[in-house]
């Protein structure tokens, strides 16, 4: 009796709680409409055989998923292609981005040319970047082959050789995403106190020692965040390969997102497309959970 009385809310508290719910309602409704509902619809559709080109739809359980994971070579290839792109372009963009950030962090008198150079690739729409690089690597009119021919070598067919197409894609993606990395790392660099370097200078540490012993350890949190952000967006890579190779030759450079787009928008196979999107969603969740665990650990330590 006493315990129950202890937890009973006063009128003021009840009013406040009601007000709290009322204030939360719009945000909750918005989230339901734009996040919960589409995801629920996606999950529901993934359990059906549902094509807009055929009348009706029927429940087939997990058949779409078993087909994708055990029979559809093309989906597995698209997962592998995406994994290769992540494996090459995320570390690639980190190395180049770090270089750019260090450059931008130099005490130049005029800072804007470097900062503008940093921002420009980042501000360019992805499809534009894809189109620019497609012409860059064009077999007969491309700048790259022009240089190669000038040097006296036979021009390679960048976009119709599967290996070279990957190389060209990786160069384009690294170029496009390095500036994002650099921006995050630059922010990290500027939080490192100057006094650390002054102390190291007094102790006679070389520039390289300063970089390895001060910059890198102090920059680690920023590096981890940049890597995780970049990996999550790289899972969804679509625009640049779409504009550069359209998945070709054959489907050698098709990413997961491109295959889902093709299945859903071109073939109008909503059921199977939803199942593929669900699988991609699960992969993204897995990557995000790594990020969440990392930030939680950071929070605990502080």
């Amino acid at each position: 009796m006493a315990a129950a009385k202890k937890y009973k809310l006063s009128k003021l508290e009840r009013d406040e709680r009601r007000l709290g719910f009322v204030l939360l309602a719009p945000a909750a409704a918005l989230l339901t409409a734009v996040v919960v509902y589409p995801i629920a619809e996606l999950l529901a559709n993934s359990l059906y055989s549902f094509r807009l080109t055929r009348p009706g739809y029927r429940f087939i359980g997990l058949e779409n998923f078993t087909f994708a994971l055990f029979e559809d070579d093309r989906f597995l290839q698209s997962v592998l292609n995406t994994a290769i792109l992540i494996g090459v372009t995320v570390p690639g963009a980190l190395v180049i981005g770090l270089g750019l950030a260090l450059l931008a962090n130099q005490p130049f008198k005029v800072k804007w040319p470097v900062r503008l150079g940093l921002l420009l690739p980042w501000a360019l729409p992805l499809v534009f970047a894809g189109l620019i690089f497609r012409w860059f690597f064009d077999y007969r009119q491309g700048f790259v082959n022009w240089l190669i021919e000038l040097a006296g070598f036979a021009p390679p067919q960048w976009l119709s050789d599967p290996h070279l197409a990957f190389v060209a894609l990786c160069i384009a993606i690294v170029w496009k995403s390095s500036s994002f990395m650099a921006l995050i790392l630059l922010a990290g660099l500027q939080t490192i106190p100057k006094s650390l370097y002054e102390a190291a200078e007094v102790d006679g540490a070389s520039r390289f020692q300063q970089f390895v012993e001060i910059t890198l350890p102090m920059l680690k949190p920023a590096i981890v965040v940049a890597l995780i952000f970049r990996t999550i967006t790289a899972i969804q890579t679509f625009d640049i390969p779409y504009a550069m190779t359209n998945g070709g030759p054959g489907s050698a450079t098709e990413t997961m997102a491109m295959y889902i787009h093709k299945t859903t928008i071109d073939f109008l196979d909503i059921g199977y497309g939803s199942a593929l999107a669900t699988l991609m969603f699960l992969i993204s969740i897995a990557a995000t959970s790594v990020y969440l665990r990392h930030t939680k650990r950071d929070g605990g330590r502080n």
Binding site: D161, P249, A252
Partner: protein
């Protein structure tokens, strides 16, 4: 007092006028038609200006989008799956009516055409009449016909005293002779679509048909692993190995062929009818008056074949002005407009009689035989799942042309995946 009465009287007099004017405002109908960049939106605009001058109260806006058939379709897929009423009328590729019928995107025209239906449909060339009737329903009306032809450089063939080739063997021999004689590093012998796009489907089907092959076997199931299917792939292997086709055939898109031919870098081209007009009229065309068109070659001992193409006009099932849209459709799909398109854009007519029109022949002398090519042309596979059928063929042919997949692998993969679609 009298002042008020006068005002009242004026208002009473004016009221019917205002009321009469209201329906006149409401009668102003705005239609929107979706046209691809390749279907000459400029010519469509001229045709629509003519329609507006004859039909007061109707304004038609042209929305242009998509450089290829696939891109146009992607856009329409998004608009139509979301039941958007913004587009009333749209041009669709000849391969699409089955899909539009199955998805319920096109308003069936039978009830609008009424008792005239059969008479109207009887006017069109048979291939186009059939392409637009799906399961007994009229899904769209033909706008213009198209087919793939062999374009060649008359000046170069004359220089080497060669006749236009009738077989693929002759084409290969002629190209080798001329390439060896010209020693022009930019000149290529023959080009066709090879990128993973819709046109590449024909790059496979045309020589397969030309070797006597069929897409469906006697049981109605797809089978491309026939002798003819293998012969078609062998043709491209040979032409590529002997340097007749560009080394980057797997990157070539339809309009790239036109650009290459127009800049004098191609001897033969497998290309659609639209290119004729560009070769004759474009400012940067160096092949003006040096170009002719003949039917595509076949293999010795077989009938040559071509893919028929062309664009149809459909009314969106989600349009809010269906009757006005159907009226526009009837106008656009008439012999008068067919003739206008033939003269302004070298679009092939969908009516037999327009091919014989002297004014049309004056601009397009090659229309004399073009009619026979269009009449004997073959349709690409008809299926509500055509986008998937097309994708299976084009990605395999693209990988094969790029040299990343052998002929056997490409045929095996096409058969496995096509069988699943036709199951």
């Amino acid at each position: 007092m009298s002042k008020h009465r006068a005002l009242f009287a004026a208002a009473a007099l004016a009221a019917p006028l205002v009321l009469a004017a209201l329906p006149a405002c409401a009668q102003q109908t705005n239609l929107r038609i979706f046209v691809g960049g390749q279907q000459r939106p400029d010519v469509m605009r001229k045709i629509l200006d003519l329609y507006q001058s004859r039909t007061p109260g109707v304004q038609v806006e042209v929305e242009v989008g998509g450089a290829t058939s696939d891109q146009q379709q992607q856009y329409l897929n998004t608009v139509l799956t979301s039941h958007d009423s913004a587009i009333d009328v749209m041009l669709i590729d000849v391969i699409r009516p089955a899909q539009f019928a199955a998805a319920g995107w096109a308003e069936p025209l039978d009830s609008y055409l009424g008792s005239e239906r059969d008479a109207i449909m009887a006017r069109y060339l048979p291939a186009y009449r059939e392409a637009n009737i799906v399961n007994g329903k009229v899904i769209a009306l033909p706008y213009f016909a198209d087919a793939q032809f062999l374009y060649y450089r008359t000046d170069l063939l004359e220089k080497y005293k060669l006749q236009p080739p009738k077989t693929w063997e002759e084409l290969s021999a002629a190209a080798k002779t001329i390439l060896a004689g010209e020693k022009n590093p930019n000149l290529r012998g023959f080009s066709t679509a090879g990128a993973p796009i819709e046109g590449t489907v024909c790059t496979f089907l045309v020589p397969m048909w030309g070797a006597g092959g069929q897409f469906l076997n006697a049981q109605g199931k797809p089978d491309v692993g026939t002798a003819a299917g293998k012969k078609a792939l062998q043709l491209w292997t040979d032409l590529k190995a002997s340097g007749v086709t560009p080394a980057n055939l797997a990157e070539i898109v339809t309009d790239r062929i036109r650009v290459d031919f127009q800049s004098g870098n191609l001897l033969f081209a497998m290309q659609w009818g639209y290119a004729w007009n560009r070769f004759q009229n474009d400012g940067d065309s160096v092949v003006k008056g040096k170009t002719n068109v003949v039917p595509l070659p076949g293999f010795a001992g077989n009938q040559p074949a071509t893919c028929i193409g062309g664009w149809q006009i459909a009314v969106s099932a989600y349009s809010k002005h269906k009757q006005a849209a159907v009226n526009l459709l009837k106008f656009l799909s008439s012999p008068e407009i067919s003739k206008m398109q033939a003269i302004l854009a070298s679009h092939l007519p969908v009516f037999a009689e327009v091919y014989q029109d002297p004014e049309v022949l004056k601009v397009n002398p090659w229309f004399q035989f073009a009619r026979n090519v269009v009449v004997t042309g073959r349709s690409r596979p008809v299926s509500p799942d055509y986008p998937e059928v097309s994708e299976i063929i084009r990605t395999n042919i693209n990988a094969f042309l790029a040299g990343t997949r052998s002929a056997e692998q490409a045929i095996a993969d096409m058969n496995t995946r096509l069988t699943r679609v036709y199951r």
